[in-house]
Amino acid sequence: MEIKLEEIFQEKIDQEIKIEPRDWMPEKYRKTLLRQISQHAHSEIVGMLPEGNWITRAPNLRRKVALLAKVQDEAGHGLYLYSAAETLGMSRDEMLEELHSGKAKYSSIFNYPTLTWADMGAIGWLVDGAAIMNQVPLCRTSYGPYARAMVRVCKEESFHQRQGYEIMLTLSKGTEAQKAMAQDALNRWWWPSIMMFGPNDDNSPNSAQSMKWKIKRFSNDELRQKFVDVTVAQTEILGLTIPDKDLKWNAERGHYDFGTINWDEFFQVVAGNGPCNKQRLKARVDAWENGAWVREAASAYAEKREAKVKNQIEAA
């Protein structure tokens, strides 16, 4: 019976028929999606922290409203994704519990500190740029609620990258000190950004199954290459230099070659030893714990109001 169901399931996937919450699905498909979507949601929420750091110090009102709107979007993206994940049978509180206990992961990029205003530029340009590269194919992912959430996310994400690039452009055309600040941000964010696509294909054990189930459409290395290829030209317009001496055009491949990624650093940050892991997690746990009284008060108020309406109906 199970085998027959799994065959029907794979046939639907092969025919590009979306899987919806109440449809039969293999347990491993459900678990893989749940892990991926909740991790994605956590990344959006934790991703607000490095940028939230600079809202009050934005150099002018135009930059401030843009950054505020971007951070608000990230909250929204986290909420779309939590809702999508909930359709797979895990409650919101359980997901948050997994984040707070350290069981669930979020994108390692957010464990790096934002030291200067130029980091707001570099994050929008590179981190959101890499995220978009990853997310656009997810608009066609096989699970309906995830695909629909991603369509919304992608529509909103493009302003994020443009606002970041505009910050970099302004700095790179500014004083020597401003240009140096932009270059410094690029130096610090470049490698973590290209690590965002995850381990190399030969070291990514779950990829093949995710591709077969069309959760993923492109491999980590394919997406990383695409990102490097488009980012080189963008860097030239800025007059900045990507911090990789091995980066050069390979006419034969039709792609840029680039240096070896420091995977040791990547796995160290994933394991919790990045510069800001503890600080980020603490900020989330504090927000949850310090907000408990608000959640309780709202529930108590809702219950009281419901009781009052009930009484009125009975009295009438």
Binding site: R22, S91, A302
Partner: protein, 95 residues
């Protein structure tokens, strides 16, 4: 004090006058007023709507995926319900 999770609500948005409300997603809120306010913040940050409906998810009743055939198959062979079923002369341009 209640520490239970806020209920889940389904959100429907009317994009503009003249269109129907369309399901856009869901969210958690303690009560209906908060559900509408949260829906405004989460789903209409870029003028996506002029009207919001929220329905507590527990009140949505859905058909079973396993009943799909029984429910929808019968319409399959009733091609005479479509205009192209009828053979009309070419010179009759628009009907």
């Amino acid at each position: 004090m209640s520490t239970k999770e806020w209920p889940l609500w389904e959100v429907f948005i009317r994009a503009k006058q003249g269109l129907n409300h369309k399901h856009v997603g869901s969210l958690h809120a303690a009560d209906l007023q908060m559900a509408i306010e949260n829906a405004r913040d989460v789903y209409t940050r870029r003028m996506e709507g002029v009207s919001i409906w929220v329905v507590e998810s527990k009140y949505v009743h859905a058909s079973e995926p396993s009943e799909q055939e029984a429910l929808f198959e019968p319409a399959n062979d009733k091609i005479y319900r479509h205009p192209t079923f009828y053979n009309l002369p070419e010179e009759l341009n628009h009907m």
